[in-house]
């Protein structure tokens, strides 16, 4: 369900503006007012977090909203870009257990439309940390502008690792979540 990237009209001196030009400008506004956003969450909890250096890719089995079809129940561990552009990612992990610390981070994986080819996994970005204190809850989180232009088919994932065994996600009150917000097109 990708949005159509709007066309910015070129209006040189002496040019007679057409309805199509004006409607293209209007379409730019519609795009900006209704840009792609998605936010998904871990409704089930109880996902066991691997011990460092191994990590666990988090599954988000439910969605709060998804205006562009980036999430599917068949692929709950990722948000797949439908409308190419620059995005901002945000995430949060709700954790329960007695493990000393858990660190989460975000990666992207290229899809078939990516000029670099499919299957290329990025470095780990926008990491966040949470320390446990006895059995009290911890909530790691992070976010920021994704450092790469994302093509339709590229996808984003959140992963985490803990300092020991026994850490897991919890779903009560404030479940783990991930979101994508469209920031900008790139004309050239």
């Amino acid at each position: 369900m990708a949005m159509t990237i709007p066309t910015l009209p070129f209006l040189p001196a002496g040019y007679i503006v057409t309805p199509a030009d004006m409607n293209n400008l209007a379409a730019c506004c519609t795009f900006a007012l209704n840009k792609p956003i998605a936010m998904v969450f871990d409704s089930a909890g109880s996902q066991s977090i691997a011990t460092n250096p191994a990590n666990t890719t988090i599954s988000f089995g439910s969605k709060y909203f998804d205006s562009d079809g980036m999430w599917s129940a068949g692929a709950p561990k990722q948000l797949t870009v439908q409308t190419p552009g620059w995005y901002k990612v945000r995430w949060g992990l709700s954790l329960g257990g007695t493990v000393l610390a858990t660190c989460g981070f975000v990666t992207s994986t290229s899809g078939a439309n990516n000029p670099g080819g499919a299957g290329n996994v990025s470095a780990n970005y926008w990491a966040g940390y949470s320390g446990a204190l006895g059995s009290a809850p911890g909530c790691a989180g992070g976010g920021g502008l994704w450092p790469f232009y994302l093509w339709a088919g590229d996808f984003i994932q959140v992963s985490a690792s803990a300092t020991g065994s026994g850490e897991s996600t919890v779903s009560t009150d404030n479940p783990s979540w991930m979101s994508l917000e469209y920031i900008s097109i790139q004309q050239t």
Partner: protein
Amino acid sequence: MGTLPTVPTFVANDTSLTKLQQLSGCVEWLIDCSTGSRPIWHLYRSTTLSITANTWTNYGGSVQAIDTDGVNVLATGVVQIQTQGYYVTEGCGQLVNNANDVQFLVSFLWTAGSNNPNFTNGTTQRYGTRGGATHSTATTDAAETPQCICPNVCYPLDTIQMQVWTSSTFNIDRNSNNAFEQGRFTTQFTGMWLREGT
């Protein structure tokens, strides 16, 4: 209350100045955060606050650096939405120097108002929680900075507040530059309109 813009449709030989003004209004909404345009707010505390252990507490900052849509109408740190749409909220909760490690969380609480067609008036939802065990000392403050899109489309009279929770009673201090330990990090709550929604 800000007025959501109308996107016009142009036809051949169109001479409508109204439509041009509507188009201008869309652009203004998207790029201008003046009063009456796209909502944004930034509130912070100017007084100390004692937080009871194991209790989610409204951080209560009502001093406004900016409030383009009058959301600070309650002046309690609880913002009241005036313009329908999706919102993103950001905050910084501060833990004044504490000699003992504590569990410290900061989050947002959304509450449905009487105009919300999707939820019963008074329904709440916590979101964006961030925090964990701190390792603050007697001379160093700690802080958590959550950021999150509100999971629900907000309607006028819905409210959002930033809350803090800790495993031991502690204090939030005011914004001050008197000394390194004195309110070094501003306790702040920021939000902005993100996108249309229903």
